[in-house]
């Protein structure tokens, strides 16, 4: 497979056509269509969007909320920025359709602090839509109101986690909540809330216009549709690529022009790190996390540098709330220093740190602490040569 541009196609369906079609359907039918498409959340966790909408739609409570997670903070990810820069109208249309589907009249875009230059773009799209009666009061003459506001974040990585994002939106310290309750039942200001990624919303108009079956056919198995990837690192053509879900990492690398590959980081710092022997593995929720970021490291790179850098990032970005993440990342980083200093020289000595990594994965409060040890496990077991000859490639 090679590139398949849908969300990033030059020719886009007319603005508002999907919304118009949606408003001619019942809200339940819109949810049904999205559910049938089997689209899964494009932020990385891959929760089925239709189920989320269905739960929020069915939840009791008024003033339901549609929140767009545009806090694109995973190192090496820039696909949402690209979508907003070029396809803001589709994002806003997707959010409006979500509002209609779940019975909400209020949308918020939580925008990454480092993206302030996108605000005028979104504002202009909003004004254009209002002028066309595609946003605001009595949209397309129907008894449906929906508007969208932009709220910039403040730079914390953890606020990409949906409950931290909600806390931050409420003006509080951005730290994850305990679940349950889930946002679909009690989210922003205790209201039923749908939080979806930019790319998820941007895909919705295409699903509505072309149908669930068409979307399913684009992907593989229950990983449907196309997916955007931000690829960077030691390649000739870094940038955003759109490929069918289930494409192999090799296909993506080929498209981006990768020549010398030692390792590939897939799904960001919290994703998986694979070797050049694993390029047949697929980008899907069943295999390599298709969150969005792909970073290529050539043979000149010392992966201990990479690992140290990632762990420094997590030590810096842990919110500090739960013990395993707050203390665990520090100890994993310490272990890296001990390896580098030669104070740890065998896999046996590393065993407690692998055990720590496992506890972090199953014992941390949110996705940050649950995935931050991945880089440690992957890089230390696959790429590092310890003096005792064990471990590493």
């Amino acid at each position: 497979m090679s590139e398949k541009k849908i969300l990033t196609a030059t020719e886009q369906p007319d603005t508002g056509s999907a919304l118009k079609k949606s408003l001619e359907m019942t809200s339940a039918d819109v949810v049904f269509e999205v559910r049938e498409s089997e689209i899964r959340g494009r932020g990385g966790a891959g929760f089925p969007t239709g189920i989320k909408w269905n739960l929020a739609g069915a939840a009791s409570g008024s003033n339901k909320m549609v929140i767009c997670n545009a806090d694109e903070g995973e190192p090496g990810t820039f696909k949402d920025r690209y979508l907003i820069e070029n396809y803001a109208l589709k994002l806003l249309e997707g959010m409006t359709i979500a509002g209609y589907a779940i019975g909400s009249s209020h949308g918020i875009i939580y925008l990454r602090a480092e993206y302030p230059y996108l605000i005028p773009i979104i504002e202009k799209a909003r004004e254009d839509l209002i002028r066309e009666n595609l946003l605001g009061e009595n949209i397309l003459g129907k008894d449906f109101n929906f508007d969208i506001e932009i709220r910039p974040g403040a730079g914390a990585y953890v606020c990409g986690e949906e409950t931290s994002l909600i806390e931050s939106l409420e003006g509080k310290r951005g730290v994850p909540r305990n679940k349950p309750p889930y946002p679909v039942n009690s989210g922003y200001l205790f209201r039923p809330t749908v939080v979806n990624n930019v790319e998820t919303f941007a895909a919705v108009p295409h699903i509505i216009l072309n149908g669930a079956e068409w979307f399913q056919d684009l992907g593989i198995g229950d990983c449907t549709g196309t997916k955007l990837f931000s690829i960077s690192g030691d390649i000739e053509n870094p940038g955003v690529y759109e490929l069918p879900m289930g494409s192999t990492i090799g296909e993506l690398l080929e498209a981006a022009g990768a020549k010398d590959v030692q390792a590939v980081q897939v799904g960001g710092a919290s994703g998986a790190t694979i070797t050049a022997d694993e390029l047949e593995r697929s980008l899907s929720f069943d295999d390599l996390p298709p969150g969005g970021s792909v970073i290529v490291f050539n043979s000149s790179r010392d992966l201990m540098d990479v690992l140290e850098n990632f762990l420094e990032f997590f030590v810096h970005e842990s919110c500090g709330q739960c013990t395993t993440c707050r203390e665990g990342n520090v100890r994993l980083l310490d272990a890296v220093h001990l390896i580098r200093n030669g104070e740890i020289s065998s896999m046996e000595e590393l065993e407690p740190f692998f055990q720590l990594a496992e506890v972090m994965k199953i014992g941390s409060k949110c996705g940050l602490g649950q995935t931050s040890p991945n880089c440690f496990i992957d890089i230390v077991t696959r790429f590092i040569d310890l003096p005792d000859g064990k471990g590493g490639a």
Binding site: A156, V158, R173, V175, N178, P180, V315, H316, E317, S318, C319, G320, Q321, C322, T323, T324, R326, E327, G328, N329, V330, R331, D334, A335, L338, P352, F353, Q355, L356, E358, V359, K361, I362, G363, S364, K365, Q370
Partner: protein, 591 residues
């Protein structure tokens, strides 16, 4: 909620739907270790100590937060769970300033206890040095963040129970700390010094500012005449602080203090009775000015002034209501002012030689005694304040066997007290004591409650209300109160005080008299009391307090013979010249 069936460690159990795994395990007799969980507080779920395995779940579940669902299969001692618990403990210990023998909480520390229970004898995660002590001092409370495990119990206490919210997590990741606005000292924020955070801290990150050393030095100095006063709630907390079951231990307490070498063992209960006389007359006088003289400048409802945490709270948060607060000093400070005047005269001792020490269930009392207004005797009225816990440490250090000691009585002049005084230790107690006396002063009859027990103001309800209608026939001079219904309210815990104050400020409340205690449960739940605390523990202490009341010969403050003597010989009359000089005070607006 109906019952559902869950399987815990292989055993099917029927539990109420909607309860947490922790609660379900409790019913099933399965113990789950916890740290951030506290029965008085909201659920944080941040320590990860209570992780358990739920069949079919990708991650472990935290038992304290996760509700049980039908047919849930829970395992609390699988390999995964055991590893997780040990790892969490080791991570906490690795960044904890483990200087246990020097720690105030040694042998009464939840982290230490869990480490021992889980047999943590080595720590692979000690990959960098432990933090060093970083002490911060305020009059009542000290902090050492190097012992903090970020459970946030203190933060939740300050916000949820006390509506004070001066401490919060600041910063993130491993550099997160519990701190104040702009990292200020507790002295420079509206901290009430109530110490509720101290009694909920699982480790020694928060503790009282100790004065044990100067008190020993005073006792050991032959030139000093050391006078102790003991607050009502101390006698129902001391046994517990010494590791014994919760019970009242007044006689043993007196004997133990005397055994430590103290010159006079006297009772704050004596000045509690005195407070009732002064405050009761103040209330009647305010009512008269308002009802008879039509004086609109008289502030009603009148509010009690015994609780120094409450006083600091209102000074910070509701300064416009300060004229509503009774001008009576707290019993501790009345005692202090009398010890260096009246008692000095009675004992024939130079007041300059008197060292006045009070034993309090309270950390805010340490702040109160430092207030510049509290020097009306011509000296510092109270020199040192020790918490119940500090007294227990001194008794231990003195080698006194509290269980075997023979009960003794308080010394004379300021040692008599009544049941009305001892109930100052429980929420509603001051109100009940005041009503017992005030009603009788104005009507000439006993208050019409069975056994003088004014049940509507007792108990753990956060805000309690009562209305007492005065009889038609009143004592001479109080006819203006005939048939008047006196409306009163009682709140404990500053979050409840805030609710009442908002109503008073908006004019929504039409009470005549309000009792406020800063601490949940009243003084028996004070920040200087034994650790831990819980609703059950406070309930038991409350029962001890009322048992003490019922057992005392005199139940009404005005019946106290030594109080009668004090007025006859020294004060002359309630609200008189001498009273104003020594027993009344004023308050200040604080930012």
């Amino acid at each position: 909620m109906p019952n559902i069936s869950v399987k815990i460690n292989g055993t099917l159990t029927s539990v109420r739907e909607g309860i947490t795994i922790l609660e379900a395990c409790g019913t099933a007799g399965v113990e789950i270790p916890t740290l951030c969980y506290h029965p008085d507080l909201s659920l944080a779920g941040n320590c990860r100590m209570c992780l358990v395995e739920v069949e079919g779940w990708r991650t472990l579940a935290i038992a304290c937060v996760t509700p049980v669902i039908p047919n849930m299969v829970v395992n609390t001692h699988s390999k995964k769970v055991r590893h997780a618990r040990r790892t969490v403990l080791k991570l906490l210990l690795a960044s904890h300033n483990v200087n246990c023998p020097e720690c105030e909480r040694n042998k009464n520390c939840e982290l230490q206890e869990l480490a021992e229970k889980h047999n943590i004898t080595s720590n692979e995660y000690q990959t960098s040095p432990k933090p060093e002590s970083i002490e911060e001092v305020s009059p009542g409370i000290m902090r050492d963040n190097s012992r903090c495990i970020m459970c946030t119990r203190c933060v939740r206490t300050c916000e949820e129970l006390q509506s004070v919210a001066v401490i919060k997590p600041v910063g993130r990741s491993s550099s997160v700390t519990i701190s104040t606005f702009m990292d200020r000292s507790l002295n420079d924020v509206p901290c009430t010094q109530c110490g509720q955070c101290v009694i909920r801290c699982p480790t020694g990150a928060l503790f009282e500012t100790s004065e044990v050393r100067p008190v020993w030095e005073a006792i050991e100095n032959p030139d000093k005449f050391v006078v102790f006063q003991t607050a009502p709630a101390v006698r129902v907390g001391l046994a517990e602080a010494l590791g014994l079951p919760i019970d009242r231990s007044t006689g043993q307490m007196v004997a133990a203090i005397r055994g430590m070498g103290v010159d006079r063992v006297l009772d704050t209960d004596f000045t509690a009775d005195l407070t009732i006389i002064e405050e009761g007359h103040e209330l009647i006088s305010r009512l008269k000015s308002a009802l008879v003289d039509g004086d609109e400048s008289v502030a009603l409802p009148m509010m009690t002034s015994c609780s120094p945490g409450w006083i600091k709270f209102i000074e910070h948060k509701y300064p416009e209501l300060l004229s509503n607060v009774s001008t009576c000093k707290s019993p501790q400070q009345m005692f202090g002012a009398l010890a260096k005047t009246y008692l000095a005269g009675k004992e024939g001792i130079d007041p300059a030689k008197i060292v006045s020490v009070s034993i309090m269930p309270c950390t805010a009392k340490k702040f109160e005694k430092e207030r510049p207004e509290m020097r009306d005797s011509g000296y510092k009225d109270v020199d040192y304040v020790l918490t119940t816990r500090e007294l227990a440490r001194m008794i231990d250090e003195a080698g006194i066997d509290f269980e075997k000691i023979t009960e003794e009585k308080f010394d004379r002049w300021m040692g008599d007290s009544t049941g009305a005084a001892v109930i100052f230790g429980a929420t509603g107690g001051v109100m009940e004591a005041a009503l017992r006396t005030a009603y009788e002063i104005v009507s000439g009859q006993e208050i019409p409650f069975d056994g003088l027990n004014i049940e509507p103001v007792r108990g753990m309800e956060g805000i309690k209300e009562a209305a007492i209608t005065m009889p038609e026939r009143m004592a001479t001079g109080f006819e203006f109160l005939a048939g008047v219904t006196l409306k009163v309210a009682v709140a404990h815990g500053l979050a409840n005080a805030k609710i009442l104050m908002d109503k008073v400020r908006s004019g929504e409340a039409d009470y005549h008299f309000i009792e406020i205690m800063a601490c949940p449960g009243g003084c028996l739940g004070g920040g200087g009391q034994p650790i831990p605390t819980s609703p059950e523990i406070r309930q038991k202490r409350t029962e001890s307090i009322y048992a003490e009341d019922a057992a005392l010969h005199f139940r009404k403050s005005h019946a106290n013979p030594e109080i009668q003597l004090l007025y006859a010989e020294f004060l002359k009359e309630p609200l008189g010249h001498k009273s104003h000089e020594l027993l009344h005070t004023h308050y200040i607006k604080r930012d």
